[in-house]
């Protein structure tokens, strides 16, 4: 797979990362290197191997449906940049 500069910029945009032209060029080289490595690994025969979602052979523990948490919003909001009427305020976003 060949990466283009526009792929880099798109990924950066999706990740909300601002990158300069020079950094984008640099990232293109580095990420292409990673993709080359992945391409090499594609040669390994994996047809008969079951995909692994987890590295550990354990199963998920379940909790009972009980409310255990108390209201701590005053404490949490003490580190928020801006709050009003117990809402967190963020730059206006409308989609």
């Amino acid at each position: 797979m060949t990466l283009s500069l526009s792929d880099i910029k798109r990924v950066a945009k999706l990740a909300r990362i601002e990158i300069s032209e020079a950094d984008a060029q640099q990232n293109l080289i580095q990420l292409s290197g990673i993709f080359n490595l992945i391409e090499q690994m594609q040669a390994v025969e994996t047809q008969k191997i079951k995909p692994m979602s987890y590295s550990q052979d354990m199963v998920q523990r379940l909790r009972e449906d009980i409310v255990t948490e108390t209201d701590q919003h005053i404490q949490f909001q003490s580190i928020a940049p801006q709050i009003e009427d117990s809402y967190y305020l963020v730059p206006r976003v409308i989609e």
Binding site: R10, V11, L14, A15, R16, S53, Y54, Q56, M58, V59, Q60, R61, L62, R63, E64, D65, I66, V67, T68, E69, D71, Q72, H73, F76, Q77, Q82, E84, D85, S86, Y87, Y88, L89, V90, P91, R92, V93, I94, E95
Partner: protein
């Protein structure tokens, strides 16, 4: 050209748990903003999600109710995107191995019946709520809803009209309430629909380019948004254009859909298995336990009402639209099993009408099923006429739980079938209406009804109408 509409729905059902799907914070609606968002929900560093057993149980319950496969193990994935109401920067959802796969529901439009297949239903967490008004140039974020357990139910694109889409949404709405996994409150967002809509030339088996309409929170909006969208797409295609794959929002005030984002800006969610959550293994015994506790399903009950009680399909559909209504019917009809049709008519007519008028749900009905049955028994044995029964019903509605018999006695409403008494009223009416008697004898049938009406009136509605008819006819032909 003839066009065919193709619709698939994604429905988000808020699970009726007490706590969130991955944390012990409450999900109660309407709390002070952010008072129910704990460290896990606001994504403080170092916290770990722990899965709510009840949420899994509800998903399994749903899967069993629609005859779907339950996947074990089932896997949680991270769906990555940036939005201020999503504190972690990803939503915990499911991609591969969703908990429920396949299954089907039956929908009815008019007298047509159709099976809609489901693709999947998966567990996920809800996001918080953004408020754009009232914070000057800022957006206010309330994270109380963040982490609330949802079941996202995805249908195959098998619906062919907005009517079918609404019938499907209503069938699911009824089902999730019936099996007790969701309160179904659409105003509070407990049941939200997204519609995937495309059109294609009739007869084609290739899908057209689709648009997704987001966040339709009423059946009416669902129907109108689809109708608008279908017309929009046909317009574009017929004027030589092509449909761009888009996410669109329905604007109820303007009754139109507008573009929210196009495919180029579509989120690339970069799903991957969530390392914080291990595979969920569901033992077969657990599934069987849940199956045993499953209530009789609406479809089964509907068929039983038709078979055992001889109700019409129409009546059976209405009575099984909600479990509470069906339960009410069953509790009433068991006192007079021979009169199931009368029971059904009263519940769908008088009871439902009055409930609608007073904006009450059936579980808050002031007249309980036993009281209603008691009244209906008095209609069938001739103690009161249907008309008087409505007055008794009204008294029961306003009353304090008195039985029909108590009210009938207290108000002296017992129907009079005593011939002697009725004859007296007939005498009185005939004497005062010689002209009408003559009219009737001259062949004017209408005059007869007028006379009956007057006799009923002076008897204050208590005369047995059938008997009045017989006796009057006899007198007039003498």
């Amino acid at each position: 050209m003839q066009w065919e509409t193709v619709i698939g729905l994604e429905i988000h059902v808020q699970l009726a748990t007490r706590s969130k799907i991955f944390s012990g914070a409450s999900v109660a609606y309407g709390a002070q903003p952010n008072s129910q968002a704990c460290a896990v929900d606001i994504a403080l560093p170092g916290v770990l999600p722990v899965l709510n057993r009840k949420a899994v149980e509800y998903a399994i319950r749903f899967g069993l109710a629609i005859n779907a496969a339950i996947n074990s193990p089932s896997i949680f994935a991270r769906k990555n995107y940036f939005y201020p109401d999503l504190p972690k920067g990803y939503q915990i959802s499911q991609l591969e191995r969703p908990i429920v796969e396949g299954g089907h529901v039956t929908i009815r439009t008019g007298d047509k019946e159709k099976t809609i297949h489901l693709t999947r239903a998966h567990l996920e967490e809800d996001a918080g709520k953004s408020t754009h008004e009232g914070f000057h140039d800022k957006t206010g974020i309330d994270l109380n809803r963040a982490g609330t357990g949802l079941l996202e139910i995805v249908s195959e694109p098998e619906m062919r009209s907005s009517t079918e889409a609404v019938a499907y949404a209503k069938a699911l709405h009824s089902l999730v309430r019936w099996i007790g996994i969701c309160d179904g409150n659409m105003q509070e967002g407990s049941f939200r629909c997204d519609a995937n809509v495309s059109v294609r030339p009739a007869g084609s088996d290739v899908l057209g380019t689709r648009c997704e309409i987001k966040n339709l929170n009423s059946f009416r909006f669902l129907e109108r948004a689809i109708d608008y969208e279908v017309a929009r797409q046909i317009d574009i295609l017929e004027s030589g254009g092509s449909i761009i794959q888009q996410t669109r929002l329905y604007d109820a005030d303007r009754d139109e859909t507008r573009s929210m984002r196009s495919k180029e800006d579509a989120h690339d969610y970069r799903y991957f298995p969530d390392p914080d959550l291990l595979p969920v293994v569901i033992p077969q015994e657990w599934i069987e336990q849940i199956r045993e506790k499953l209530p009789e399903l609406p479809e089964d009950r509907r068929n039983r009402y038709i078979q055992d009680f001889g109700l019409s399909a129409y009546d059976a559909n209405i009575l099984t639209a909600a479990r509470e209504l069906a339960d009410y019917f069953e509790q009433a009809v068991k006192h007079l099993p021979e009169q199931s049709k009368l029971c059904a008519n009263w519940i769908m007519g008088e009871v439902s009408g009055r409930l609608n008028k007073e904006e009450l749900e059936i579980d808050r009905c002031p007249v309980n099923p036993e009281q209603l049955a008691g009244l209906l028994l008095r209609i069938t044995d001739g103690t009161v006429s249907g008309k008087i029964a409505k007055d008794v019903f009204d008294s029961m509605w306003q009353g304090n739980g008195d039985s029909a018999d108590t009210i009938i006695d207290a108000k002296n409403l017992r129907q009079i079938s005593d011939g002697g008494e009725i004859e007296k009223w007939i005498d009185e009416v005939l004497a005062a209406n010689q002209q009408q008697v003559a009219d009737y004898r001259a062949g004017k049938e209408k005059a007869f009804n007028s006379l009956v009406g007057q006799i009923m009136k002076i008897s204050k509605g208590k005369a047995n109408p059938a008997q009045v008819n017989t006796l009057l006819k006899k007198r007039l032909t003498e």
